[in-house]
C-alpha cells in the first residue's frame, strides 16, 4: 500500500531516483503543454490563450480523483500523503507577490525550468532572478518570520471546513472546472489574436 517510500527501510538512493524520474515526467508534461513559452503563459491573463487554466485544473482533478480511487481500493493511504500547512497571511501575501512575479516574468518556477531546458534565454535570466529571490528571502527571514509564521491553522482540508465529504467537494470542483473550461473557450474566441505559435 502506498506511499511506497513510507515502507520502513526504504533506501535513500531509490527515493532520490524516483525524485529524478518524477521530475522528468513533470518537465516533459510542462514542455509538451506549451508552458516553455512565456507568451503562451501570459496569454492566460489577457484571455488570448487559456492553456494554463485547462492544463492546471485538468491535472489537479486527475490527481485528486485518482488518489481517491486508489485510497478506496486500498492502494494508497492518504493519511500518509503530505497536506500543505495553512498559514493564512503567508499564503495570501506570498500568493500576491507570486502573481506579480508571474506577469512580470511570464513564468512560474516550474515552467521557467522547462523553458530554460529548451534554450529560452529569458527563462535562464528568470532562473537567476529566482535564485536571487530565494537568497533575499533567506537573508530577510529574521525580519519577516513573524508574518511567515502568523495565523497557523495546520494542514486543514477545504472540504472539512465546508462540512462536505471528499466526494461531494470533488464533484463540485469538477463542475466548476468544466464551467471554467467553457468560459475559457469563449474568451479565446473573443480575445483571439493572430496565431503566434510559429514565432515561439
Amino acid at each position: 500500500m502506498g506511499p511506497i517510500s513510507s515502507v520502513p527501510g526504504f533506501p535513500e538512493w531509490l527515493d532520490l531516483t524516483i525524485a529524478f524520474l518524477i521530475g522528468v515526467g513533470f518537465g516533459f508534461a510542462l514542455e509538451q503543454a506549451g508552458f516553455s513559452s512565456s507568451r503562451k503563459l501570459a496569454g492566460m491573463f489577457y484571455g488570448y490563450d487559456t492553456t494554463v487554466i485547462k492544463v492546471f485544473f485538468t491535472a489537479a482533478i486527475v490527481a485528486l480523483v485518482g488518489s481517491q480511487f486508489m485510497s478506496y481500493f486500498g492502494l494508497l493511504d492518504l493519511s500518509k500523503v503530505f497536506v500543505n500547512e495553512y498559514y493564512v497571511k503567508a499564503s495570501i501575501v506570498g500568493g500576491v507577490i507570486m502573481g506579480a512575479g508571474f506577469i512580470m516574468g511570464g513564468f512560474c518556477p516550474g515552467t521557467g525550468l522547462s523553458a530554460l531546458s529548451i534554450g529560452k534565454i529569458d527563462a535562464m535570466v528568470f532562473f537567476i532572478g529566482g535564485l536571487t529571490g530565494a537568497f533575499l528571502f533567506a537573508e530577510s527571514f529574521p525580519f519577516i518570520q513573524n508574518l511567515a509564521n502568523d495565523s497557523y491553522k495546520g494542514p486543514v482540508k477545504i472540504n472539512e471546513i465546508m462540512g462536505l465529504s471528499t466526494g461531494v467537494f470533488t464533484l463540485i470542483l469538477i463542475v466548476v472546472a468544466i464551467a471554467m473550461f467553457w468560459v475559457a473557450e469563449i474568451a479565446e474566441k473573443k480575445f483571439a489574436r493572430p496565431d503566434i505559435t510559429s514565432q515561439l
Binding site: V24, E31, K40, K54, S117, I128
Partner: protein
Amino acid sequence: MKRNYMNPYIAGTLLGLVLLLAMYLSGRGLGASGGLKYCVVSIVGAVNSDHALTSEYYSKYFEGGQNPLKNWLPIEVLGILAGGFISGAFSRRLKLKIEKSPNISNAKRLIFAFLGGVFFVYGAQLARGCTSGAALSGMAVLSVAGFVTMIAIFGSAFIFAWFFRKNWI
C-alpha cells in the same frame, strides 16, 4: 518542422498522472521553487560557511553534516530540466532564443524576466510553495493552503496584468 503543442486537456491529464505517481511513490506532490531554495542554501554554504552555519535559517539544512543538494526536491528539479529537454528534442523546439513580444526590446524583456524571478520565488518561500508545490499539489490533496494560494496567485496576476499589458500584447 516543429511539432504543435499537445492538446491542453491531454497534457493536463499527463501532468495529473505524474502528480498522482509522486503521491503514490513518495507521498508528496510536485515542486519547483523548493529546489531553487536548496541550490541557494548550498551556494551560501560553499561561499560563506560561517554565515550558513550560524544563521538560524540556513543552519537547519546542514545539520549532521548533510548535503542540501541530496534531497528529493533539488534532484526532482534536475529531472525537470532533463524532461523538458527530452520533450524539446522530441518536438524539435530546442533553440537558444529570447522569447518576447515584438513591441519590446530584448533588454526590457530580460530585466522583467529577472524581476519576475525575484518576486516569484520570494513569494513562494513565504507561502511555502509555488504554483506546483502549493497551488497544484495543494489542490490535489484538498488543502486550504493550496486553494488560497492558487486564488491569490491568479487573482493578483489578473490585476497586475493591466499594468504590464504593453510587455505582452
